[in-house]
């Protein structure tokens, strides 16, 4: 068996597969299917300073090889997470990434402080949630704001800070560079693309919020392109995601420049998807003669 470990911003994951934020709760549910220690890391549901109820339903709709969602960051708040969920997660041999969203840069700082103290392994700063009005997407589309949030998160964190980028931008490298200069330790991408589906009979958008975030296989080619662009533009390690449902999808993202790969929507189709993706990815790396899966990172040979 080849070496599956990868390094993400100084944190060693035993394998490159990460559960994507918002698709894996706090791990409890999928933990009944397999041991969470099978994964490299778990990125927990997006946290906010205080409990959030999220958006009214329907919150999900199916699209061709994709889904759109508008959960709107329902979560118990960062304190409840630390008190009730983190200890449980910590019982598994898996790295924990806390995904955070704030309304102001200060809120990001506040959460980073608490989460660092509580001992998560990495903080993922979500500046790209398309489903909340304040903050969220706005931070992800303006380089100055993205940099400001990043700087504040860094200042209040003792663990590495990864910034999650939005694909809903004209030039993702511009944001990536701003965030890199502001001190981010890693980047993760892509969050969801904004989409809409209308019920032709009722004439209502299926999502109660009208629009939502598109994820799933449909977005894979956009994710591969963006990971490649960002990898070419900045030197930071990348957690790649967007549409991964099999090993070769994950290999594409690693070749494009990702150090690790998150699996999200695919869990809904198959709860075992992250484990299967890991095995297939390892198998591909091995059959290509690699001693370590980490050697895939950045291996694309552009024309």
């Amino acid at each position: 068996m080849i070496d599956q470990s990868v390094c993400l911003a100084g944190v060693t994951l035993k394998n490159p597969i990460v559960a994507a934020s918002g698709t894996f709760g706090f791990g409890r549910e999928y933990g009944t299917f397999y041991d969470l220690s099978e994964l490299g890391a778990i990125c927990v549901k997006g946290l906010t300073p205080r409990r959030r109820e999220g958006n009214p339903p329907p919150r999900i709709a199916e699209t061709p090889m994709g889904i759109i969602n508008s959960v709107g960051l329902q979560n118990p708040g960062v304190d409840a997470f630390i008190a009730a969920e983190l200890p449980e997660l910590r019982r598994h041999d898996v790295k924990i990434i806390a995904n955070i969203s704030g309304d102001t840069p200060e809120e990001y700082g506040e959460m980073c402080e608490k989460l660092s103290a509580a001992g998560v392994d990495l903080v993922e700063v979500n500046i790209s949630c398309p489903n909340v009005k304040a903050g969220g997407l706005a931070y992800g589309t303006k380089p100055e704001l993205a940099a400001e949030v990043t700087a504040l998160a860094k200042r209040h964190s003792t663990v590495p800070v990864m910034v999650k980028l939005s694909p809903n931008v004209t030039d993702i490298t511009e944001i990536a560079k701003a965030v890199a200069e502001a001190g981010a330790d890693a980047l993760s991408l892509i969050n969801t693309l904004r989409g809409m589906r209308i019920d032709v009979n009722t004439r209502r958008p299926i999502l109660r919020q009208n629009t939502g975030g598109l994820s799933g296989p449909a977005v894979l080619p956009v994710a591969v392109r963006m990971v490649w662009e960002v990898a070419c533009a900045v030197k930071l390690p990348i957690l790649g995601m967007g549409g991964v449902s099999c090993g070769s999808d994950a290999v594409q993202l690693m070749l494009a420049g990702a150090s690790a790969v998150a699996v999200g929507t695919a869990c809904f189709t198959d709860p075992y998807a992250p484990v299967k993706v890991r095995d297939e990815l390892t198998q591909i790396a091995q059959s290509q003669g690699h001693g370590r899966v980490a050697e895939l990172t950045g291996g694309v040979l552009p024309w």
């Binding site: 709760g25 299917f33 299926i206 198959d270």
Partner: protein
């Protein structure tokens, strides 16, 4: 404990011009199934989301589902035949609380099938009140006659049973029998709302099974939000699909 299993189809047949019945060899999914739980079924390679379907009945390791064709996924499901395999996740969700001596089970339309399993699971005396749009959509009545002490039927157009809605049947049953410990109901939201209202009026504890669009089906993605009376959101796949009627926010 929920499981994923590739289940062989033992029997697949149309039940009415609108509804299909599929019986699966489901192993532990069947053995562990409780009343009011559901399974989450993958419907072909082209659809990313599984479809939630209630457990209609269980016989050992065999599990039966009954469904109507509503869109792409159920259309695919309706085309399956014996010998084929289905990718099933289950048993999922929080089902009915069956404690009580004497239960009134209420089903409306495609909410009827799960009440059969519920009838078969309950230890005490059960009575059933079933509502259908019309006679050609009526189903499972003989099965209910085996499982329940009385079975009352209503239809929207009067083509079978009493002309009217199930909440009428509930009133009648309560007047006829006395001392229902609980009313358990599954069906479209407007029906559940009226059944809950009648139950409240009669001061009989009521549980309702709610539908909501689902992603994961196991409680991880939080898309299947059901608003509760206190303004919070709970989740149909994990906290439900069965809720106490007074927990539910009945607005809209």
């Amino acid at each position: 404990m929920s499981l994923q299993k590739i289940c062989e189809i033992i029997a697949a047949e149309p039940l009415t011009p609108h509804a299909y019945s599929i019986t699966l060899e489901a192993g532990r999914i069947a053995e562990e199934a409780r009343a009011g739980q559901f399974v989450h079924i993958r419907c072909g390679d082209g659809l990313l989301l599984r479809r939630p379907i209630s457990i209609c009945d269980v016989n050992g390791s065999r599990l039966r589902i009954v469904f109507e064709v509503r869109g792409e996924g159920t259309r695919w499901l309706a085309l399956r035949g014996a010998g084929e395999a289905l990718d099933v996740l289950g048993p999922l969700g929080h089902g009915f609380d069956l404690t009580g001596e004497k239960l009134l089970l209420v089903g409306g339309g495609i909410g009827v099938p799960p009440m059969l399993h519920t009838a078969n699971c309950s230890g005490g005396e059960v009575h059933a009140a079933l509502g259908f749009r019309s006679a050609d959509r009526a189903m499972l009545i003989s099965e209910f006659q085996q499982a329940a002490k009385t079975v009352a039927v209503a239809s929207d157009d009067g083509s079978i049973g009493v002309h009217g809605y199930v909440d009428g049947l509930v009133r009648e049953a309560a007047a006829r029998e006395n001392g229902f410990s609980a009313i358990l109901a599954c069906g479209p939201k407007p029906m559940l709302r009226s059944v809950a209202a009648v139950a409240a009026e009669l001061q009989i504890p009521c549980q309702v099974s709610m539908e909501e669009r689902m992603g994961c089906g196991v409680g991880a993605c939080l898309v299947c939000a059901c608003k509760t009376a206190d303004g919070h959101y709970r989740h149909a796949c994990k906290d439900g699909p069965v809720f106490r009627a007074e927990e539910v926010c009945w607005d809209d």
